[in-house]
């Protein structure tokens, strides 16, 4: 049985590379004095694939604004979307780290849930804010480390290893909560998320800072490059001197910490944690990550693409909800958006490959 592989390994992504080369070579060309044939301008197909998700997002915003002029394009609604999506963004960012290294981490939702429950339980027991936060991050780091050991040292398939740890965490959740809703009793922990920055919730600032940080690490440092090489050609990367085991392990550990942070923020902001909290956050995070891999830098899991993926899904469900649609419509929308965006980029990639290569 072969679980699906992360797309860095699939041929489609490789086929689409021609596009990202066109994009990234623009700056390189200017400073390259070597003679080489002029490259074709990016054609409509390239633009459609690289920016399809963004175009779709803009169209959607226009349509909802026309249909719902009083409720959708209001500053309150925009603020609500941005604040509501801050935590999903952090979780989606967590997901792209193992994905870039070529592996799935299915425990991220469960880590988020367990961290939220840990946070409330500790706060209610009187632990001060810094202790609670550190405990949450430690939970994420520990689960991430266990995942890393299983995958890197023992050699368990990541899909299965992280599924197993997710299942264990869901059991622990039931144990800690006694199978009932936990309610935050102290204001101290709520303070983590109640501050406002420019009249926006502070979680948005957290998400922006983390996005910038991750963007820097993934795109601008050797760490990010080696992480991607680990995902795209593990043997070659290893033989070239990349310590692939370390990159793989750190992707799980950092992802665990980020997911735990998202959990702590969620508990602080919401003030409650259901015993089953967590898993429902996993699929949207992956959907956003995969949507993100079709845009900005097609073929790569990238930070801004992922952020846009989260926003796209959020705008869709927000607009539909405001239109009075029921939950099932939103679910169908989310699934269909993912299907269409990813298929479109694969199809256009294939068409271009036929035509130009």
């Amino acid at each position: 049985m072969n679980p699906p592989t992360a797309p860095t390994k699939t041929p489609e992504i490789f086929q689409k590379e021609a596009m990202s080369t066109t994009a990234s070579s623009t700056q390189e060309r200017t400073s390259t004095k070597t003679t080489k044939p002029a490259r074709k301008r990016p054609d409509v197909g390239t633009i459609a694939t690289s920016y399809g998700v963004i175009i779709f997002l803009v169209l959607m915003i226009i349509v909802f604004s026309v249909l719902l002029p009083d409720t959708f394009p209001t500053s309150d609604n925009v603020k609500a979307i941005l604040s509501d999506q801050s935590i999903p963004v952090i979780l989606a960012l967590a997901a792209i780290l193992p994905l870039a290294a070529g592996e799935f981490d299915l425990s991220l939702g469960a880590i988020l849930g367990f961290s939220a429950i840990t946070a409330i339980a500790l706060s209610n027991a009187g632990a001060p804010l810094p202790v609670v936060i550190l405990a949450c991050l430690a939970v994420g780091a520990i689960v991430g480390t266990v995942n890393a050991i299983l995958v890197v040292k023992v050699g368990v398939n990541a899909f299965i290893a992280t599924l197993a740890s997710a299942t264990i965490l869901s059991g622990l959740n039931l144990l800690v909560t006694g199978s009932s809703l936990l309610v935050l009793g102290s204001d101290a922990f709520g303070a983590l998320t109640t501050t406002r920055v420019f009249d926006l919730q502070v979680v948005l600032a957290y998400a922006i800072v983390l996005s910038l940080l991750l963007f820097y690490v993934i795109e601008k440092t050797p760490f990010g490059r080696y992480l991607r090489a680990t995902g795209m050609g593990r043997d070659a990367a290893r033989l070239s001197g990349v310590r692939v085991d370390r990159y793989l392990a750190s992707s799980f550990i950092v992802a665990g910490i980020l997911a735990a942070l998202a959990g702590a923020l969620l508990a602080s902001r919401g003030g409650t944690a259901a015993p089953t909290l967590g898993p429902e956050f996993l699929l949207p995070a992956y959907a956003a990550a995969f949507l993100g891999a079709t845009t900005i830098k097609p073929g790569y899991f990238n930070v801004w693409g992922t952020v846009i993926g989260v926003v796209l899904l959020a705008v869709g469900s927000n607009g539909l909800t405001l239109l009075g649609a029921q939950t099932w419509v939103t679910n169908i929308f989310n699934g269909a958006a993912l299907m269409i965006a990813v298929s479109a980029s694969v199809l256009v990639g294939k068409r271009r490959r036929k035509a130009s290569s």
Binding site: S25, E28, T32, Y216, K220, G233, S240
Partner: protein, 521 residues
């Protein structure tokens, strides 16, 4: 034994290409190429790296769509263009592509089956495992491949993989006999690039046999001796244009090379320098592994040491162990007098030992990354400022190596997977040899590299050695030892059994040493 059926066709052209062009995003890989392939002959398709050979073959195979205006005739019938894999198969074309095209995660038998659907009764009918295995086993046996049809392709070494790919290209000919031989056109893109001599011989012999039975072959190789031995007709591409289309008859090896390269190549033989006197850089004692049985060796600063031997002698394992890619089960290594026990290639590289691994596509290149990213992979420390990548520095560093190793096209942002095979190899060599160090390990470094670039790489390696680097070269190409090495060790089933120095390093003597050991078994 040519049957009357094929007599009708002998003399006519098996395949005729007219006005074939292929443009990749504004770049011409093939430029109005026209030639004919005579039936019942072996036609060598030659050209330097990136000249368009593989592209031409992929057009025939229906992988690439040619530019409008081309025409293709097979066996007198005009083919509709673009070809598809199906029309190509039906027209009798059989391929062994440069990248072999086997699926690692499937067994040999399954790899045979997916080109060969007819063996199952309909798409949904049950596949007869037993029949399939019997058929595959028979084909493998004809090619002297002694592995089980149920073995995973990923577990085979490059030699066996190539042999399996070749056997697969031949399979239905084997089945339906002479008639099919005469009808089909077998197209082989560098089947011998990473094969040792004795396997090359197996392949050449089967090709000659095929021809004797009326078969038509298109054969790509950078090894001119092979071409001279088996080919009847010569078709040469340069920068996508046809530059020669003639019978090979009178041409010598040097004539062929100069037609390919476009100028005469001087054979550079290094003056025999006698044994090196430098300090010992890398020393190994009693290295034992899966194949190796206690190997002792020493390489001195400035020395180029060759390691030769038959398949399975442990050449690549020795390189892997020295490069930190595999741990020896016992033995001791020293680097510049200090104990050296790398736990990973990263440690080895940090200690100054870098390596060109044997399998380019899996171990050498990260195919979905750019040439720049591949050249600097594992060496990014040199290209950072305050911990962050310095894009300009990296690009300049990559450009310098691209120029030094004449990677074409000289575009650092191009994906390495879109480069021609030989140019990919140059990138891998550039990474290993371009960043200094104390020892350089080369496993089959010039596989798939054309004659000119081979010479350039040899010059670079010589230069590095002159600067004091210690070099170990494992190769199946004896000519490479002659051009480069100060000393050659012969490995036989995991043991060092002979050593050649000075005038003894010549192709005949090395072949003799290797063969003696094989025969002594």
């Amino acid at each position: 034994m040519i049957t009357s059926d094929t007599d009708v066709r002998t003399g006519s052209d098996a395949l005729r290409i007219e006005n074939l062009s292929k443009t990749f995003s504004g770049q011409r890989a093939l430029n109005e190429v026209s030639f004919a392939v005579p039936r019942g002959k072996i036609t060598a398709l030659l050209g330097m790296n990136g000249s368009g050979k593989s592209t031409l073959i992929k057009v025939l195979a229906g992988v690439y769509q040619p530019d409008p205006g081309a025409a293709l005739t097979i066996g007198g019938t005009a083919m509709p263009l673009p070809m598809t894999p199906r029309t190509a198969h039906e027209a009798g074309l059989r391929f062994l592509h440069q990248d072999v095209g086997l699926v690692d995660s499937l067994t040999i038998a399954d790899n045979f089956a997916f080109v060969d659907r007819f063996r199952a009764p309909g798409t949904f009918g049950p596949i007869s495992k037993r029949r399939q295995h019997e058929h595959v086993a028979a084909t493998l046996e004809k090619f002297a491949i002694s592995v089980h049809p149920g073995a995973l392709v990923g577990s085979l070494n490059p030699t066996l993989r190539t042999m399996v790919g070749l056997a697969r290209a031949f399979q239905d000919e084997e089945e339906s006999g002479v008639q099919a031989f005469a009808k089909n056109i077998v197209v082989l893109d560098e089947p011998t690039a990473s094969l040792p001599v004795e396997e090359v011989d197996t392949i050449l012999t089967s090709l000659e046999e095929l021809k004797a039975n009326g078969g038509t072959v298109i054969y790509v190789s950078h090894r001119t001796e092979e071409v001279k031995r088996i080919a009847d007709q010569l078709v040469i591409l340069r920068d996508g244009k046809l530059v020669a289309d003639e019978p090979i008859a009178e041409l010598g090896v040097d004539d062929i090379v100069s037609r390919v390269v476009g100028k005469r190549l001087e054979k550079t033989r290094i003056p025999r320098r006698g044994l090196r006197e430098g300090d010992v850089v890398l020393a190994a004692q009693g290295i034992t592994g899966r194949r190796l049985r206690g190997v002792d060796l020493k390489v001195r600063s400035g020395e180029i040491l060759g390691v030769a031997g038959l398949v399975g002698c442990g050449r690549s394992e020795l390189i892997r162990i020295l490069a930190g890619a595999q741990s020896p089960s016992s033995g001791h290594m020293e680097l510049a007098g200090k104990s050296y026990a790398p736990d990973s290639p990263a440690t080895a590289i940090a200690a100054g030992v870098s390596c060109v691994p044997q399998e380019r596509r899996r171990e050498g290149a990260v195919l979905p990354m750019s040439v720049r990213e591949n050249i600097t992979l594992g060496r990014l420390k040199t290209f950072t400022r305050n911990g962050a990548l310095d894009g300009r520095k990296e690009r300049n560093g990559a450009l310098r190596l691209i120029e030094q190793f004449s990677v074409k096209p000289a575009d650092p942002s191009r994906l390495i997977g879109l480069l021609s095979g030989g140019n990919q190899q140059k990138v891998v060599v550039a990474r290993a040899a371009g960043f200094g160090g104390t020892a350089l390990l080369l496993d089959e470094p010039t596989q798939g590299v054309d004659a000119l670039a081979k010479q350039e790489i040899a010059n670079i390696v010589r230069g590095l050695a002159a600067d004091g680097l210690a070099v170990i070269l494992a190769s199946t190409d004896f000519e490479e030892f002659v051009g480069l090495c100060d000393r050659v060790l012969i490995l036989d089933r995991g043991r060092l059994v002979a050593e050649a120095t000075g005038e003894d390093i010549n192709e005949e003597h090395l072949a003799l040493l290797c063969a003696q050991q094989g025969a002594a078994a």
